[in-house]
C-alpha cells in the first residue's frame, strides 16, 4: 500500500508529538517548574527557546505543556468517543422512543455553544484536570453521537446487513463483523478532528485561566503567562501557537487520508 506524501508528513509529526509527550521527563533539559535563568532571556545554547516570564526554561515548559495538553485532549477524545459511539450505535439499533429521547437531548446540548456551556459549568466546579476531561469529553460526545448514529443508521439499511439478519445472525456478529468494519474509517477520521478540537478547547480554557492551573504547564497556559512579553517583542507566547498549528495540521492530513481510503474501498480497489 502506498501512503501519500502528505499523510506521511502528518504521520511523522503526529508520532513525534506523541513521542515527545510520552517521554517528556527524559527529553526536557530542565524541570517543569524549575527557575533556571532570568526573565525572558533570549534563546541561547543553554535555553534553546529562551526563558519565560519568571525565568523557567521555555523549551522544557513547552515539552511538559505538550504532555499535559496532549494527555487531556487524548483522554477527552477517548471519553467522547466511547460515550458518543456507544450511545449512537445504541440509538440507531434501538430506534423508536429511545432514539428520539437521546437524540432530542443531544440537540438540546448542542443548542448551547460548547465554550459557553463549559464556562457556565466551570463557574461552579473546581478546575481540576479530571473535571476538564469529563466536561470536554461529554460536551464533545454529542458530535460523535450524531456521526455514529448517522453512520450506523446508514449501514443498518444496507442489504448485506439485512442478508445477515435473514441468515439468522446474532446481534454481535451484525455489529462487529458487518457494521463496525465499515463504520470504523469515518469514525477514526472523526476522532482526529475531535482531538484537534479538544486541543484547541483545552488551550482556550487554560488561556482564559479556567483550564489547567499553574504551575502545571500547558500550551494555552504558556500563552497566558507570557502574553505581556509580546509588548516587548518577546515571542515566547507564540511558540505554543506554532506547536498547536503543526500538530493539528498533521492530524488533519492523516484524517483526510483515512477518509479517502474508505471512499476508495467502496469505489473499487483497482
Amino acid at each position: 500500500m502506498r501512503i501519500p506524501l502528505a499523510a506521511l508528513i502528518g504521520l511523522f509529526f503526529t508520532g513525534l508529538f506523541f513521542a515527545v509527550a510520552i517521554f517528556a521527563p527524559f527529553i526536557a533539559p530542565y524541570g517543569m517548574a524549575e527557575v533556571v535563568g532570568d526573565v525572558w532571556e533570549a534563546p541561547s545554547d543553554r535555553f534553546l527557546l529562551g526563558t519565560d516570564s519568571i525565568g523557567r526554561d521555555l523549551l522544557s515548559r513547552m515539552i511538559y505543556g505538550g504532555q499535559t495538553t496532549i494527555f487531556i485532549a487524548t483522554a477527552a477524545t477517548a471519553l467522547s468517543f466511547i460515550t458518543g459511539s456507544v450511545l449512537g450505535f445504541f440509538a440507531a439499533v434501538s430506534g423508536g422512543w429511545v432514539d428520539q429521547a437521546i437524540s432530542r437531548f443531544v440537540d438540546l446540548i448542542m443548542s448551547i455553544p460548547s465554550l459557553i456551556f463549559a464556562l457556565v459549568v466551570l463557574s461552579v466546579m473546581p478546575t481540576t484536570i479530571t473535571i476538564l476531561i469529563v466536561l470536554m469529553g461529554l460536551l464533545d460526545s454529542t458530535r460523535v453521537y450524531r456521526l455514529a448514529r448517522a453512520v450506523a443508521v446508514d449501514i443498518t439499511v444496507m442489504d448485506y446487513v439485512e442478508a445477515a439478519r435473514l441468515r439468522g445472525e446474532k446481534i454481535g456478529w451484525i455489529i462487529f463483523r458487518e457494521t463496525l468494519p465499515n463504520a470504523l474509517s469515518p469514525l477514526v477520521a472523526e476522532m482526529g478532528l475531535r482531538f484537534i478540537f479538544a486541543v484547541l478547547f483545552v488551550s482556550t480554557l487554560s488561556f482564559l485561566g479556567l483550564g489547567v492551573q499553574p504551575p502545571q504547564a500547558d500550551w494555552g497556559g504558556i500563552v497566558k503567562e507570557n502574553k505581556e512579553g509580546i509588548n516587548y517583542g518577546v515571542s515566547a507566547a507564540l511558540y505554543p501557537a506554532y506547536a498547536i498549528a503543526v500538530l493539528c495540521i498533521s492530524i488533519n492530513l492523516v484524517a483526510d487520508w483515512i477518509l479517502n481510503r474508505t471512499t476508495s474501498l467502496k469505489g473499487g480497489r483497482g
Partner: protein
C-alpha cells in the same frame, strides 16, 4: 442545407480517471468512430454500459461530461467543424442547432424555475423566437406530446408533474428552439414499462412531425428499433456494426449484434404443479408501520418445489413488499404463510434456524448486498459455517464447488466485491444463497440492474441451477421478457393486489384483463413497426369503446 447534417470522422474521446491512491491518468474510452447522419433521419446508438454511446452523443454538441475530453477526429454539424471552433461558436450551436434530452428529466430541470421558462429559455436566448412565439410553440409541443392541460402545465414547477410527464416536457424543451438535431440519451429507461410506451410514441410522433434529425441512445435494441432509421452497435468504445434498422434486427452480421438481437429469447418449458406446494401464501394483507393503507391486499399464491413463480408488476405494485412479508421482515396484519408443510411465524426473530436456511434471498443491487470489507470466500463461506458448521479444508472445498457451479472458477476466493464486475457480483450472491442448500430462493429484481447480455447469462445460470439443486424461485420482476424466460407460473400485481394468477401459458394467453393486456402490449418487441401496431390497436380499441 447540406445533405449530411452530422458528420463524424475518427472520433476519439479520452477520460481522466482517478484511481484511489495513485496518480490520475488518461484513458481512451472511444477509439475512432465514423458515421454520418442525414437531415431528418434518426440514428440509434446502441451498446451496453461502458460502450461510449452517451459520450459520442454529447460529442455532437462538443461537450464532455466530467473529466471527459475529445482527443481526436472531427465532428461537423451543417458543414462546420465544431471541435475546432471557439467556445462562442459552440454556444451558438448548443440549444439552437443541436439540443439534448437526458435520461433523468427530474434532475435535469432546475427545481426553482417554472417549466415554461426552462422550455423556452434556449429558443429565446438563441434568438430563434420571441418570448411570445416560443411560448406558443411550447404549448403546441405540450399538446403534441400528449401532456395534460397543455395551456397551463408550463406554469408548474418540475416537482409538480409526474416522471413520465417531465420526460415529455424535456422533449418539448429540446424541440422548442426548432433544432436540426436532437440527442436523446436513454429518454425512457427510467420509466415504467406502461409509461415508456406512451413517451416513446410521443417522441416518435414529435420527431416525425417536426422533421428533426435525432441520435437515439439506448441499451435496449427493441426500443431503438421502433424509432430509428439506422442503428450503430457499439462495444467498448468501438463500432461493431452499422446498418439500417431492418438489417440489424433481421439480418445481423456480427456475433455481438446477433447476441444482442437474440437476447431475451431463452426458451423455458413450463412445469406442471405438484401435489404439495413448497410455499403457500394465503390471504396476506400488510401495511407499513405509521401508514394507513394496505400495501398488500388479500394475496394468495402457491409455489411448487423446483419451480418458478414470477411476481410481475410496476413500481408501487407491492411485489417487493410481498418478499419482505415472506422473509419475515414485515409481519403481515392478516393471513398465513406455509413453507414446506409448516406454518411460518410472522416475524423473523421467532423463526427457527431451519426455516431461515431453507428460505434464501438474492437482491437487485449486488453491490449493496455484499459487505465491501469481506472477501468472496468469507461471503460464501459464512452460511457454510453458520448453518453446517463446516471448517477448514472442508469449507474451502465446498466454497470452490460453489464457485464452479456459478461458473467463476479459481482465484475468486480472495477477491473483494469491488474487484468484480456487475454480473460476477450477482453470481457470488447466488452462490451465497445456494450455500445454505435452500428449498426456496426469493429473487428480487436480480437482473434489472444488469446489461441485457449479462442478465441473460444470470437467467441461464439460475435455470441450470434449478435443475441441479431442485430449488424453487420466487422471482420478482417488472420485466415481462424475463418472466417468459424463467417462469412456470405467474402472478401479476397491480396496486397491492394480484390481478391475474396461474400457469404461465394461461396467464400469457387471452382473454386478458385490462391491466395485464396493457402490461403485455407495452413490452417492446424486437420487430419493426411494433410501436405503430400497438398504438393503432389501442386507438381502435378506445374508438370501439
Amino acid at each position: 442545407m447540406t445533405d449530411v447534417l452530422l458528420k463524424v470522422r475518427g472520433l476519439k474521446i479520452g477520460a481522466t480517471i482517478y484511481p484511489p491512491g495513485e496518480k490520475s491518468r488518461e484513458i481512451e474510452i472511444v477509439h475512432g468512430v465514423d458515421f454520418d447522419l442525414a437531415p431528418g433521419k434518426v440514428l440509434g446508438l446502441i451498446g451496453e454500459s461502458g460502450a461510449g454511446k452517451s459520450t459520442i452523443g454529447l460529442a455532437s454538441m462538443a461537450y464532455g461530461r466530467g473529466g471527459v475530453e475529445i482527443t481526436g477526429g472531427t465532428v461537423e454539424v451543417n458543414g462546420r467543424d465544431i471541435l475546432s471552433s471557439g467556445l462562442r461558436d459552440v454556444r451558438r450551436l448548443r440549444g439552437a442547432e443541436v439540443t439534448y434530452v437526458s435520461q433523468s428529466a427530474a434532475a435535469s430541470f432546475n427545481p426553482a424555475k417554472q417549466i415554461m421558462e426552462q422550455v423556452t429559455e434556449a429558443a429565446i436566448f438563441q434568438n430563434k423566437f420571441s418570448k411570445k412565439e416560443a411560448e406558443e410553440r411550447a404549448v403546441e409541443l405540450f399538446r403534441k406530446l400528449g401532456l395534460p392541460d397543455p395551456e397551463n402545465i408550463g406554469s408548474r414547477y418540475p416537482h409538480q408533474v409526474s416522471g413520465g410527464q417531465l420526460q415529455r416536457c424535456m422533449t418539448a424543451l429540446a424541440l422548442c428552439p426548432q433544432p436540426d438535431l436532437v440527442v436523446f440519451d436513454e429518454p425512457t429507461t427510467a420509466l415504467d414499462v406502461t409509461t415508456q410506451i406512451d413517451v416513446l410514441a410521443a417522441i416518435k410522433e414529435a420527431i416525425h412531425d417536426t422533421g428533426v434529425a435525432a441520435l437515439y441512445i439506448t441499451h435496449d435494441l427493441a426500443v431503438v428499433a421502433q424509432v430509428s432509421d439506422h442503428i450503430m452497435v457499439l462495444q467498448q468504445g468501438a463500432m461493431v456494426e452499422y446498418g439500417t434498422t431492418d438489417q440489424i434486427i433481421n439480418a445481423p452480421k456480427e456475433e455481438y449484434t446477433k447476441a444482442l438481437v437474440s437476447v431475451r429469447s431463452i426458451d423455458h418449458e413450463e412445469k406442471q404443479p405438484t401435489d404439495t406446494p413448497v410455499l403457500k401464501v394465503e390471504n396476506i394483507t400488510a401495511r407499513y408501520k405509521g401508514t394507513d393503507f394496505d400495501v398488500l391486499k388479500n394475496i394468495s399464491v402457491e409455489l411448487h418445489p423446483g419451480q418458478t413463480l414470477a411476481v410481475v408488476g410496476e413500481s408501487g405494485s407491492g411485489k417487493s413488499t410481498l418478499a419482505r412479508v415472506i422473509t419475515g421482515l414485515l409481519p403481515p396484519s392478516q393471513g398465513k404463510i406455509t413453507f414446506d408443510g409448516r406454518e411460518l411465524t410472522p416475524d423473523l426473530p421467532t423463526r427457527p434456524l431451519e426455516d431461515l436456511r431453507e428460505l434464501q434471498m438474492i437482491y437487485q443491487m449486488a453491490d449493496t448486498a455484499m459487505n465491501p470489507r469481506q472477501t468472496v470466500g468469507t461471503i460464501i463461506g459464512r452460511p457454510l459455517e453458520f448453518y453446517f458448521g463446516l471448517k477448514g479444508a472442508e469449507k474451502q472445498k465446498r466454497i470452490q464447488e460453489l464457485l464452479d457451479e456459478i461458473e467463476l472458477g479459481d482465484g475468486f476466493q480472495d477477491r473483494y466485491p469491488a474487484e468484480l464486475s456487475g454480473g460476477q457480483k450477482q453470481r457470488v450472491c447466488i452462490a451465497r444463497a445456494l450455500a445454505a442448500k435452500p428449498k426456496l430462493i426469493i429473487c428480487d429484481e436480480v437482473t434489472s440492474a444488469l446489461d441485457p447480455l449479462v442478465a441473460d447469462g444470470i437467467l441461464k445460470l439460475l435455470l441450470n441451477l434449478q435443475k441441479i439443486e431442485d430449488v424453487a424461485y420466487l422471482f420478482i420482476t417488472h420485466d415481462l421478457a424475463t418472466v417468459r424466460a424463467i417462469a412456470d407460473s405467474i402472478a401479476v400485481m397491480f396496486q397491492g393486489e394480484v390481478v391475474r394468477y396461474g400457469p404461465k401459458s394461461q396467464v400469457l394467453s387471452p382473454p386478458f384483463d385490462d391491466y395485464t393486456d396493457l402490461l403485455l402490449s407495452s413490452v417492446p418487441e424486437m420487430k419493426l413497426g411494433w410501436l405503430e401496431d400497438v398504438i393503432a390497436n389501442r386507438k381502435m380499441e378506445s374508438a370501439g369503446n
